[in-house]
Amino acid sequence: MSTLQFLADGFAVAFQWQNLLFAFVGVIIGTAVGVLPGIGPMSGVALLIPVTATLTSGLPTEAAAASSIILLAGVYYGAMYGGSTTSILLNTPGESSSVVTTLDGYQMAKQGRAGSALSIAAIGSFCAGIIALLGLVLLAKPLSSVALKFGPAEYFSLMLLGLAAVSGLAGRSITKALIMTVLGLMLGTVGIDAVSGIERFTFGQPMLFSGIEFLTIAVGLFALGEVFKTILEKSDDDGQIAKINRILPTKQDLKDSAVPIARGSFLGFFIGVLPGAGATLASFFSYITEKKFSKTPEKFGKGHIAGVAGPESANNAASGGAMIPLLTLGIPGSGTTAILMGALIMYNIQPGPLLFDEHPEVAWGLIASMFIGNLMLLVLNMPLVRIFAKVIETPKKYLLPIIIAISFFGVYAVQYTTFDLYLLLACGLLGYLFAKNDYPVAPLVLALVLGPMIENNMRRALTISNGDFSIFMTKPLSLLFLIVAVSWLLIPLFMKMRGKNVIINEEE
């Protein structure tokens, strides 16, 4: 088949010594970018564009483009590997896509299972990377047309399904989870409304025009909240942290993770294909799905390995899926892919419907190099786990200042404003108060991501249909999502009414 022939040609490009080197450098930088909060994949890739342009300046255009996109893509998916590290160890999500990993990853680390959590994240990412690549090779063309069919109505219903599933993130009380969800939705309305161009809740302050940055809120609530908790509830448990027993996951861990990794990979891949949905959503959806399908949902949030394996696979698979609209349609699904696209355009190579015909060397070389890069990442990351896992044994008095520094640095590097630093501090205090009173913060964070997307897509859909709500029911995919969302909410209630002993929530 011609696809195989093209792929073989791609490997020929990827195995050129300079491209192997470029892929290697890319994934190393990517891992560092992922581990260090603040310098996210987006700024990491953007900052490296001029560097790769200089490095490849001697090569012919086509080869130069292939080499530099191989390096830059390496940074992109490398960052997805590294992103889990601080989430697991320090409760500090470095990228928005690894926020959900903190929920169980940090709990695992606290129990001395940091090694297992980190290595399962790496293994999951590897499997997801390979699955997503196979999907990319085999399904790129058909999927790109499916992605196009996804209009505002379909997005709205899909996001609504995500919101309906928010109960999956609830702690002990569903009421408190709903309160937090509404709070998140409210925060999401701040800024210039994208549909009407009207300012909302900005009080005329330019720094609020573009809304409240999701990462600031997440880092504040999770990382600083934990810091405040440790300081304010100072106990003598310093050094009481469980010793790290092992670096590799146990057989049981692997068994528990296999299905979540597979499910997370597929879910992440398909969500990644949709422009605008992205890795963050993929990881949330994966977490919620795992909890829903789990035989032991009560274990989630207390250090369940499936809660790390699923989302970490999903966000990696999503970054592979996002390559489909980028390469086949020239439509970047996220900020980072937009920058990758910019890099290709710099070499006069326009990603889009003609890329695979006009520049097969670049397209297939990139795909082949991603296979190699993923393998490099696995080999690279497993030994690093041993080193990183030791971080958790650092005494609190050293660890806390490091977390605070990383949080501040990370937020500033994304936003460049002191306003966000104040916001970060405020969220830290709030995060502590919320946690103390059993208000789960994850629903707030998810609602903050989903809220604006739900709202904008609903209003786009209604603009198109001249205000007719039936647009959500007449589109088959949209209707399907709505039905799933409704049954997600109703089936447990219904079964409870029938007297079945079903745990809706562990409400006291």
Partner: protein, 342 residues
């Protein structure tokens, strides 16, 4: 012993990583300085892109800094800083107030400097009059685009439909109402006397998503940049009905009529230029005018422009200021028609 060592190693790794990150990517050019009549520049120079890394403003700023330093036109290192927020409005406020006297801080901007200042919502108190325009460097144009199998063959077809049954035509663009894509999209309707408030405009997050909506059948017509749409024309996925330039474009869009040819007496240029602070000293203005004029002639600049798919269009400080006055009138006129003016 081994444990303490690894602990230490882990901690240093994190710290070293942090330190590595904070170091900027400023290139270290020599400190030798040509002695011109004035002693500007004495310090290092910063060009600000009031957006995140990777966007058009950012790429332009980096291209200027790279060309100036590579060709040794300016030997002082030029650093590019990103100051995102509020579609450029956040940095604009700082630039017009705190940095108004700072000869060493420049800014790259495009039509939003006019639009943000004139529109009622998301208004930036400061506009181009609070800066010293130094030069226009590049240009792009808006394009009115439909899918290849669309029933619309000409711009007139679209306008006729907008007149008779506006509820059946969905116009989309990659930015919010009252911003660039929207203005480009409604210019033809405005000039044909159509009530602009009946025109359905759906805004997406960026031009890419707008193209996706068009290809997926979720929009009938989109307004976007002429430079990015060319590849879809080549692949046969879309047709461009008109471009907002004064003369026909080259390359893929050579057969596309301009607004004027399609009977719309208006043009709209998406320019990018560089601005100095409001109270820039005469020495500094003279220095930059000379250097920028020299820069646009260099092969290095030309290759940067080509690599990024831009079109070169140079206006010096005086022409640029005059041009901005004209453009501002157009923007105010359009926003007034939309009842979105401040």
């Amino acid at each position: 012993m081994w444990k303490t060592l690894t602990k230490f190693a882990a901690a240093t790794f994190l710290l070293a990583g942090l330190a590595g990150c904070t170091s900027t990517d400023s290139s270290s050019a020599g400190d030798t300085e040509k002695t011109t009549a004035s002693n500007y520049p004495k310090n290092n120079i910063t060009i600000v892109a009031p957006s995140g890394a990777g966007g058009g403003w950012d790429l332009t700023a980096r291209a200027i800094s790279k060309t100036m330093n590579d060709t040794k036109l300016i030997e002082k290192p030029i650093q590019v800083e990103n100051k995102p927020g509020g579609g450029g409005a956040v940095f604009m406020a700082t630039f017009a107030t705190k940095e108004a006297d700072n000869d060493y801080m420049l800014m790259v901007k495009s039509p939003p400097i006019l639009i943000n200042n004139e529109k009622a919502e998301g208004n930036s108190k400061f506009g181009y009059k609070d800066t010293t325009p130094l030069a226009q460097l590049t240009r792009d144009y808006g394009a009115i685009v439909v899918k290849n199998d669309s029933t619309y063959k000409t711009l007139d077809d679209v306008l006729n439909d907008l007149k008779t049954n506006p509820q059946d035509v969905t116009l989309a663009g990659g930015s919010a109402p009252g911003s660039m894509d929207h203005l480009v999209g409604i210019i033809p309707a405005f000039k044909s006397g159509i009530d602009l408030k009946t025109v359905k405009y759906v805004s997406y997050d960026g031009g890419g998503e707008a193209v996706a909506a068009l290809l997926g059948g979720n929009a009938d017509v989109i307004a976007t940049d002429a430079s990015t749409i060319a590849t879809y024309v080549k692949s046969g996925d879309v047709r461009v009905l008109a471009v907002s330039s004064s003369e026909r474009l080259e390359g893929e869009l050579a057969d596309v009529p301009t607004f004027k040819e399609a009977g719309i007496d208006e043009e709209f240029t998406i320019w990018r230029g560089i601005f100095g602070p409001k109270n820039m000293s005469d020495d500094a203005v003279a220095y930059w005018s000379e250097k920028l004029q020299a820069m646009v002639e260099t092969d290095e600049w030309k290759s940067e422009v080509e690599r990024n798919g831009w079109q070169s269009e140079y206006r010096n400080a005086e022409e640029f200021t005059k041009y901005l006055d004209e453009q501002n009138n157009t923007v105010v006129e359009l926003l007034t028609a939309l009842e979105m003016q401040k």
